[in-house]
């Protein structure tokens, strides 16, 4: 019959008119973010040992790690990602031995000012003295033990990081 296609077309648009709409009104509602989404980075600071593998793995030299030696350990004072150069390849996350660096599902990293773009994951002062991570009982033993070692390394330390380490509490704790 002539005109059958016309009617069929109208039927389709009529059906579509009542069909469910696909629009997701972004700021109010969001699509579910996939499980392995490459979003904003999250660093588990307690796990991180400031080894620098992630910075080495990065093809774009996005990651800058600032660290100091506190006592025997490396203490991270800054972990900054120049996210404007990041291609979210995931090599840094893969390279992390301690499973400290992760992706989050947050994809909203836009900034109004250029200076705000770098993603500062850690920015802190190094403690002058190594923290005690052992049990309280072991504390007493650990302390005298650590002290001489710290002293032994002293000659090397001030040359590298004297400003921060010495700046805060030079006279408070006796050396």
């Amino acid at each position: 019959m002539f005109g059958q296609g016309l009617i069929k077309g109208l039927q389709i648009t009529w059906k579509e008119f009542w069909a469910k709409k696909f629009t997701v009104q972004y700021p109010e509602e969001q699509h579910p973010v996939p499980e392995r989404f490459h979003g904003k980075f999250v660093l588990d600071v307690d796990k991180c040992i400031a080894c620098g593998l992630c910075a080495n793995a990065c093809p774009n030299k996005v990651i800058t790690i600032e660290k100091q030696k506190v006592g025997k350990k490396q203490y991270m004072t800054g972990y900054i990602m120049n996210i404007q150069y990041c291609l979210f390849c995931g090599l840094c996350v893969e390279s992390c031995n301690k499973d400290a660096l992760h992706y989050s599902k947050d994809f909203n990293m836009n900034q109004y000012f250029y200076r705000d773009i770098p993603l500062v994951l850690v920015k802190r002062e190094a403690p002058a003295e190594p923290e005690e991570e052992e049990q309280p009982a072991a504390k007493a033993e650990a302390r005298p033990k650590a002290k001489p070692q710290a002293k032994a390394e002293k000659p090397a330390e001030p040359a590298a990081n004297s400003e921060v380490a010495a700046g805060k509490v030079p006279g408070k704790e006796g050396e």
Binding site: L6, G9, L10, T13, E16, F17, A19, K21, T23, Q25
Partner: protein, 350 residues
């Protein structure tokens, strides 16, 4: 109360003016002026609403939501758009005919507004109930061809010229099936007066006695308003925006709003001629007559919009061929059959 809302307002105004002691002629003139201004405001607001409705319908048919940010449910979207267009500079092309170029968008609304004066929006709600109402409407409505042509010619641009030539060709050739389609109705009603035609449909709407005439009229009317699938006039992929190519800002908006006002005219006309005007179907008289009129009109407007978002544009040769080879012969045949049918019924004694 609600039924005679607008008639009541007019009567109240008349009695108010009567109390002032001015001559009756002046009072009537003032009432008429108020009526026409009310219609003017109604049309302009409605044109804004129709732009919004079109965008919503389009969005819904494409599984989108459409405008929803400006105002509640996006209702103020077109108001914002018009506000923006008003604030824009009017650019006149260097080689354009300045006077005609500026006159065209101003005048484009005139035939549409003149037409609305005779349309009965409800029981006793026509501003002027002319005894040649249908003839007047068709004659005035076809005037708008001239203003499209003015705009296209004065722009001095090839796209505008091609577009406006298409307008003239299309609107003139579709005028014929449009009128011939209505002729069947007029033959049955035996009058050109709109109130008589509506009164003749009190029991049976003419869409049931004249279904082919309705289809012919509706097709031709969609073509007459340059709407998809007959929107060759502003075929975007070919000639940018047809006669509107060189227009910007409010001048363009006037053409744009006039298009929607024209849709309203043809749908109101279809309602009057085929859908029983303000008559309530199934004896649902408790709903005011003007509400019925607008319901029918908006249903038809919805169909016009649905057509736009369903069908692709046809070619120029198809357009002309369809008008002259299909619609006109069909309309003539319809008139012939209607005439024979009427004679047979008269012979039977109906």
């Amino acid at each position: 109360m609600l039924e005679n809302l607008f008639v009541g307002i007019a009567d109240w105004l008349r009695s108010l003016l009567g109390g002032l002691g001015t001559p009756v002629e002046i009072n009537e003139a003032i009432v008429m002026l108020v009526k026409l201004v009310a219609i003017l405001v109604f049309i302009l607001i409605n044109a804004l609403w129709l732009v919004y409705m079109e965008r919503k319908v389009a969005a819904y048919m494409q599984a989108r939501i459409g405008p929803n940010r400006v105002g509640p449910k996006g209702l103020l979207q077109t108001t914002a758009d018009i506000g923006k267009l008003i604030s824009k500079e009017i650019v006149i092309p260097g080689k354009a005919d300045k006077v005609v170029f500026l006159l065209a968008p101003v005048l484009i609304f005139v035939p549409t507004l003149m037409v609305f004066a005779v349309i009965p929006f409800g029981k006793n709600m026509a501003a002027i109930d002319m005894n040649i109402g249908v003839f007047y409407l068709l004659a005035i409505a076809s005037l708008s061809t001239l203003f499209f042509w003015m705009g296209g010619w004065a722009s001095n641009s090839k796209y505008s010229l091609i577009g406006s030539m298409r307008v003239v060709a299309q609107m003139v050739s579709y005028e014929l099936p449009l009128v011939l389609g209505l002729l069947g109705v007029i033959m049955i009603a035996g009058s050109l007066k709109m109130s008589d035609i509506i009164a003749a449909q009190e029991h049976t709407w003419f869409i049931f006695t004249q279904p082919i005439a309705f289809l012919i009229y509706f097709t031709a009317a969609v073509a007459e308003t340059n709407r998809c699938p007959f929107d060759l006039v502003e075929g975007e992929s070919e000639i940018i925006a047809g006669p509107y190519t060189e227009y910007g800002g409010m001048a363009f908006a006037m053409f744009f709003l006039a298009e929607y006002a024209n849709i309203m005219v043809i749908c109101a006309m279809a309602t009057i001629m085929f859908l029983g005007g303000w008559h309530a179907p199934f004896g649902l008289d408790f709903i005011p007559s003007w509400v019925w009129f607008f319901l029918k009109m908006y249903a038809l407007i919805f169909v016009v919009m649905q057509l736009r978002w369903t069908y692709p544009r046809i070619r120029v040769d198809q357009l002309m061929g369809f008008s002259w080879k299909v619609l006109v012969p069909l309309a003539l045949a319809n008139i012939f059959i209607t005439g024979i049918g009427m004679k047979i019924y008269q012979a039977i004694g109906w």
